[in-house]
């Protein structure tokens, strides 16, 4: 699946988008896999309360299942307007 990062999440991880092969059943499991990879991921995912997640461009939550999902995006709370 495609995993996208925005704002300071993108800056901490150091890239805007990557392809991830995963068997993770939920967003939380995917976060755990990414966090275990490298320090920069651990730094980005250190405080999940400061993060939001979208699945296929719809806001979702960290307990949500990933089956059938093609695009996951992680970002801080939005500041539009």
């Amino acid at each position: 699946m495609d995993v996208l990062y925005f704002a300071w999440v993108r800056e901490r991880i150091g890239l805007p988008k990557e392809k991830v092969e995963t068997q993770a059943a939920t967003v939380s499991e995917l976060v755990a896999e990414l966090t275990a990879r490298e320090d920069r991921y651990a730094a980005a995912f250190a405080d999940l309360s400061a993060l939001r997640v979208a699945l296929d461009q719809e806001l979702s939550d960290f307990d949500a299942p990933l089956s059938g999902v093609r695009e996951v995006a992680f970002f801080p709370p939005m500041t539009g307007g």
Binding site: L4, F6, A7, W8, A54, Q57, E58, L59, A73, F75, P76, P77, M78, T79, G80, G81
Partner: protein, 148 residues
């Protein structure tokens, strides 16, 4: 309904006129709101950089505008939001609502503003000569959604 996400500046007068020309006789009330890049209290903001999530942004704005149309009697809705590098005083975004009734037009415009502050995927970064900081979301912006 018209949803526009663009980097280029927009002409708020021309947009308001074009919007108002839609169906004036049926809509007795037109409300427009324009957001402007505000300088920092210290007066040293050089650039406001706005990042967004192409694709999701348009979907989220459309959903918010559709929800406004279902809650209020609206003849039309316009949302324009810019991204990229802006300077203090630049116009960031604009919403317009047209309705047969003033109350609907005002309330729907406020609803659009409240939701696009914290439910549309934009992120602001303030750049000054001493560095760059992401703007943190405010609790009061999240709280504002509870009144709807």
């Amino acid at each position: 309904m018209r949803i526009v996400v663009q980097e280029a500046p927009f002409d708020m007068g021309a947009e308001a006129n074009a919007f108002a020309a839609g169906d004036e006789a049926a809509n007795g009330a037109i409300v427009t709101f324009t957001g402007v890049v505000r300088d920092l209290a210290t007066g040293d903001l050089d650039v406001m950089e706005i990042e967004h999530y192409p694709g999701m942004t348009e979907r989220a704005l459309t959903k918010i505008a559709e929800e406004a149309q279902s809650r209020w009697s609206l003849g039309d809705v316009l949302v324009i939001h810019r991204h990229g590098r802006l300077a203090p005083g630049d116009r960031i975004m604009m919403v317009a609502t047209a309705s047969p009734h003033r109350k609907d037009a005002f309330e729907a415009a406020e609803y659009l503003m409240d939701y696009l502050k914290s439910r549309a995927p934009f992120w602001k970064k303030e750049i000054t000569n001493s560095g760059a900081d992401w703007v943190a979301a405010k609790d009061e912006d999240e709280d504002a959604l509870t009144r709807w």
